[in-house]
Amino acid sequence: MATNLYGLMAEFSQPEPLIEAARRAHAAGYRKMDAYSPMPVEGLAEAIGFRTSLVQRLVFIAGVLGAAGGFTLCWWMTVVAYPHNVAGRPLNSWPAYIPITFEGMVLVSCLTAVIGMLVLNGLPQPYHPVFNVSRFERASRDRFFLCIEAADPKFEAKETREFLETLSPQGVMEVEP
């Protein structure tokens, strides 16, 4: 019935009621939802049933690759590409490669952490329906929102609205797609 809706959004003035609301929505069986807050709120992502460890895995792989890349670069430059005998020292003088190996590790993993975080978050994203709610501009100031999306199989415009009302929010708003 409510096909022209992105979802329904409830507004809260404090983070704790939002966590509580998210928990109850999850317990009520809603899965496609998201919570919005002006700062990171501990336990909020878990409350909507979201867990991820992808960023740190990616960064670990990137760190290993960056370190290997840094070392290989030094080794290749001094052993293969431009072998140069400095006072009879071995061409593969690996202790001297450690600083660049380390910097390679840091550089590649930091780039991966930031770019990986942005890509996994789907950013940059020029348009998103939640911005159609005029009160949502306070999501970056002092208000906390819970949005249950219409794509959720359990979503019914009327019942979901009634459910959100029971969470004692400041207000419930429709989100245009």
Partner: protein, 463 residues
């Protein structure tokens, strides 16, 4: 004047990190208000300060242009002192940058509540200090337009940089440091850009901040990944910041020049870097907090903690000086001993050494007194003295060591020219101009982290 909100400039004293009566909304409004203040209501000191700094930027441009025309001969450098002001300034600037990373990364991992309102500010300082620092080795190259030869890339000359040399380590360390500082700074800004976008008073500001915010909407899923990434950046920056100044110190300690060839250099350089960096944060933060009435966000607790860090790192630096003197005697090495005597007593620059001791070791001892730490003019002046002292330290290390090599026939003095001074003053102007533009145009205090502080305080104090 007429539509000005009541300014609360109540400093809550040295115990609190935030003035009374703040909630999520007020910290947001206050910090974004600095940027969205009408142009004509910018504090007059900012205009005067920026005017002077911008004049110095022009001095820098003239100096660099003349340098490109005539080469490094316009500076006072000559064998045996081929590393003059350029390298002194490089080490000094990069050291100043270190406080920013220290505050944003190490203090984040240590969960220090007083880092929050100064981290953005000092990260920006890092960024601009690294920009000033990075310029000097390139200008010093002689043929700066060939600076890209430092980077390993396939070329028709079939030449590659020498990765056994600390100078190449430096290229990697400084460029990595610059990149990671930029990433850290920008990542921290994304949620604040979103705030600025949503509070924009006109469509221009909304469009510019909207693009910079990348569509950030504060989703819990986004925050979860964001915090992981932010924490990882902090974790990676922590060893990075230690490595950068260690590598800079390798430039000296790996060589065999007496006065450079010593194992104490890496820890002593890193401590000195954080020391000078905190001094610079205080030099900038004390006036800015006053001009913009930010006393309730940057409280006396922040000032006092920074003063304590200066005292602590200053003592490590003092230990470094003491060890140099001790090793000159204990090593029994004639050259080492001569280097020290030359530095402190018989050399042409003996007076720089004693001013350095006065600035870096004696003056900061005043900070043992709580009254001094809480008296802003004193802290401000001490921070300026430390900045000068740390610059002199690099001068003493770089220049006096080179003037007296092993062979008396290669002894010689170094005298800076007008162009040495103008280039240095020019980078000071560039740094201050960029800082002032940053304070005027971007949220100088991390807004979302201040909201976290508000949240935290509500829960710990129950009010």
């Amino acid at each position: 004047m007429h539509d000005e909100p009541p300014v609360t400039t109540l400093d809550p004293g040295p115990k609190k990190v935030l003035g009374p009566g703040h909630d999520y909304g007020t910290v947001t409004d206050k910090i974004s208000g600095v940027v969205y203040r009408p142009f004509e209501r910018t504090p007059r000191e900012m205009f005067i300060g920026f005017g002077i700094a911008f004049l110095l930027v022009n001095v820098l441009l003239v100096s660099v242009t003349w340098l490109f025309f005539r080469g490094v001969g316009i500076w006072g450098i000559m064998i045996p002192v081929a590393w003059g002001f350029a390298i002194v300034n490089f080490v000094w600037w990069i050291g100043i940058g270190h406080a920013g990373t220290f505050i944003s990364a190490i203090l984040l991992l240590l969960k220090q509540d007083w880092r929050t309102s100064i981290n953005r500010f000092s990260e920006s300082m890092t960024l601009f200090a690294v920009a000033c620092a990075g310029m000097f080795p390139i200008l010093h190259l002689g043929r700066p337009w060939l600076a890209y030869w430092l980077v390993p890339y396939p070329n028709t000359m079939w030449l590659w940089p020498q990765p056994r040399s600390p100078l190449i380590w430096d290229v990697f360390a400084v460029s990595t440091y610059g990149t990671v500082s930029l990433l850290f700074w920008f990542t921290g800004l994304i949620p604040d850009f979103a705030t600025m976008r949503d509070k924009a008073p006109n469509s221009w500001a909304q469009k510019i901040f909207g693009m910079l915010a990348l569509g950030w909407r504060g989703s819990a899923k986004h925050w979860a990944r964001y915090q992981k990434a932010y924490l990882l950046l902090a974790g990676l920056s922590t060893p990075l910041v230690v490595s950068v100044h260690s590598v800079v110190s390798f430039d000296f300690s790996v060589s065999i020049v007496p006065g450079w060839h010593t194992t104490i250099f890496p820890p002593y350089f890193v401590a000195g870097a954080i020391y000078s960096g905190f001094a610079m944060v205080l030099t900038l933060a004390i006036p800015v907090r006053r001009w913009y009435h930010l006393e309730d966000l940057i409280t006396m607790r922040h000032i006092e903690c920074m003063a304590k860090v200066m005292l602590g790192t200053g003592l490590i630096v003092a230990y470094g000086y003491a060890m140099e003197a001790f090793m000159a005697w204990y090593s029994g090495n004639q050259v080492e001993r001569y280097t020290f005597i030359n530095r402190a007593w018989i050399g042409g620059y003996w007076w720089t050494y004693w001013i350095l001791i006065l600035c870096n070791i004696l003056t900061p001892q005043l900070l043992w007194s709580k009254r001094v730490r809480l008296y802003l003019p004193a802290v401000f002046i001490i921070s300026l003295i430390i900045n000068i002292g740390m610059w002199l330290e690099r001068f003493v290390i770089v220049v006096t060591s080179l003037t007296r090599d092993y062979v008396p026939s290669s002894w010689g003095m170094y005298y800076p020219t007008l162009w040495d001074w103008s280039t240095y003053a020019g980078t000071l102007g560039l740094f201050v101009s960029l800082m002032f533009l940053f304070i005027r145009g971007l949220p100088a205090i991390s807004i979302f982290e201040m909201r976290e502080v508000v949240h935290h305080l509500e829960h710990t104090h129950g009010d």
